[in-house]
């Protein structure tokens, strides 16, 4: 049933692997950001506290950026339209993209994670595999958010313009810079509707307090809900037959 989705995912993986410059940037960019965070935070305890939230933030940012730009490029180059004229469903296309880009988003997360743990020497608790599964859930949401957002952009430049609208508010309101409880009440209310708030809460509980996935089941559920919502929205906005 999902054979077309696997074909699309395989094609995306093949494409990115063959694009050596993009592959290089995919590895270097997260390491650069992780290094800046590591060097700029003077107190090791603050770094231990900040690092998990940064991890959640970076997977959302890179997942969104990679998918949003790639999907928009497919629209502008006509390859998406060609695909939509083929015997594929909208779900095939979205799930194919999801699988293909999730692999790279996860690879980036692992690079940042291991760099933070082994090079920047941050402390963490909890099971590594459970932390990775939680990051994957954030990544699914990021990839679907990128796919959905690309619907509203006419070119790659416009996708970049969506970063201050879609990503930066989450960055400021998720609790990464200061606790959500210290925000004005109306901003706390807005923060409740942002996926990164739950990503940061969940990953902090896992890495700082050693919680399992079950211990952060509320955050997992909300993030999965956001991801499912974005999958549905991305599928619905992927138009095959525009009525005229």
């Amino acid at each position: 049933m999902l054979s077309n989705a696997f074909s699309i995912a395989g094609r995306i993986i093949n494409q990115l692997i063959r694009d050596r410059r993009t592959m290089g940037l995919l590895i270097i960019a997260p390491l650069l950001i992780a290094s800046i965070v590591g060097v700029s935070v003077p107190d090791k305890r603050i770094l231990d506290y900040t690092a998990p939230a940064m991890l959640a933030m970076l997977i959302l940012f890179f997942g969104f950026l990679l998918t949003g730009i790639s999907f928009q490029r497919e629209r502008s180059q006509g390859t998406l339209e060609r695909l939509m004229a083929a015997p594929v469903s909208r779900l095939d296309v979205v799930s194919g993209y999801l699988m293909g880009f999730l692999l790279f988003a996860l690879a980036q997360t692992l690079i940042i994670f291991f760099y933070m743990v082994y090079v920047l020497d941050i402390n963490f608790q909890g099971d590594l595999w459970q932390i990775i599964v939680f990051q994957a859930i954030i990544g699914v949401g990021a990839v679907c958010l990128g796919t959905f957002t690309s619907t509203f952009a006419r070119n790659e430049f416009q996708i970049m313009q969506f970063i201050p609208i879609v990503i930066l508010p989450q960055f400021f309101l998720c609790g990464l810079l200061w606790p959500v409880e210290q925000l004005p009440e109306y901003l706390q209310w807005i923060a409740k509707f942002l996926p990164l708030t739950y990503g940061v809460d969940g990953i902090r509980a896992m890495m700082l307090e050693g919680e399992s996935l079950l211990g952060v089941i509320k955050e997992v559920g909300v993030l999965a809900g956001f991801a499912a919502g974005f999958v549905v929205l991305a599928s619905l906005t992927l138009r095959r037959g525009t009525s005229g």
């Binding site: 699309i8 093949n14 494409q15 339209e81 695909l83 015997p87 594929v88 095959r240 037959g241």
Partner: protein, 249 residues
């Protein structure tokens, strides 16, 4: 076997308030090369996008091989868009192989053999491992054609397939299209050049989303009443006639 490959009945399509296809009815016989000729903006690409199911009619109906175009019957159709619409980072072979998979050629050995056959057919065997981004425009057009026909569809829509091609490659393309129609496929080609029109067995002249003439190239030429009329003359003749008819209305 059904003798009609495409049946269009009172088709209308609008982009916003602009009427792009206007109450158009047409039957395309199976096994022919059929040309959609007209200037830029006459509705050729929109008509092809309607025929492959990318757009839905505002009014009227379309039947391709007896079915309303949708993803469930897309295997019956091949579609070559106006832009090459290829994956630039992938090789010639990877592009054609991807579309072979998507169009249902699941058996690996059969698929590989068919992909190799198509690469040879579009004369790109020596470039099969080259990334598409490194190919010339004409070569990209050939890869795009390969992607459209790899699953051997009975009905093929080609949107301006010869744009930007060198004259010798253009001749090769038409030789190949004729071989496809001989084997029973129906080809619908859009073009704005009369060179392409001369190769079609039957064609329509489109203007402002309406058919202003339908016939074989010879019929259209002779309709002008001039013995040495070219297809360009014929096109201008039918434009004048449609303008006169509009003025009378």
């Amino acid at each position: 076997m059904n003798d009609t490959a495409v049946a269009i009945d009172r088709l209308t399509f609008n982009y916003g308030k602009l009427r792009v296809i206007d109450d158009l009815s047409l039957e395309i016989p199976a096994g022919t090369s059929f040309g959609l000729l007209g200037p830029n903006g006459s509705g050729k690409t929109t008509l092809i996008r309607l025929l492959v199911g990318l757009l839905k009619p505002a009014e009227g109906s379309i039947q391709c091989l007896g079915r309303t175009p949708s993803s469930s019957n897309a295997r019956l159709r091949g579609y070559m868009p106006q832009l090459p619409s290829l994956y630039a980072e992938l090789t010639v072979k990877q592009n054609i192989d991807f579309f072979a998979r998507i169009y249902g050629l699941r058996d690996r050995k059969q698929r590989e053999s068919r992909v190799d056959e198509i690469i040879k057919l579009v004369d790109l065997w020596s470039k099969r491992k080259t990334q598409v981004m490194k190919l010339s425009g004409g070569m990209k057009q050939r890869v795009s054609l390969g992607c459209a026909i790899v699953h051997n569809p009975p009905l093929i829509f080609l949107d301006e397939p010869t744009v930007g091609l060198d004259p010798d490659v253009r001749v090769n393309f038409w030789d190949y299209f004729e071989s496809l129609t001989r084997s029973g496929s129906t080809i619908v080609v859009s073009s704005h050049t009369m060179d392409d029109a001369a190769h079609c067995q039957k064609l329509i002249f489109l203007r402002q989303g309406k058919i202003i003439a339908l016939g074989t190239p010879d019929e259209l030429r002779s309709a002008t009443g001039t013995s040495d009329a070219t297809l360009e003359d014929a096109f201008l003749y039918f434009i004048r006639r449609s303008e006169e008819a509009q003025n009378v209305e």
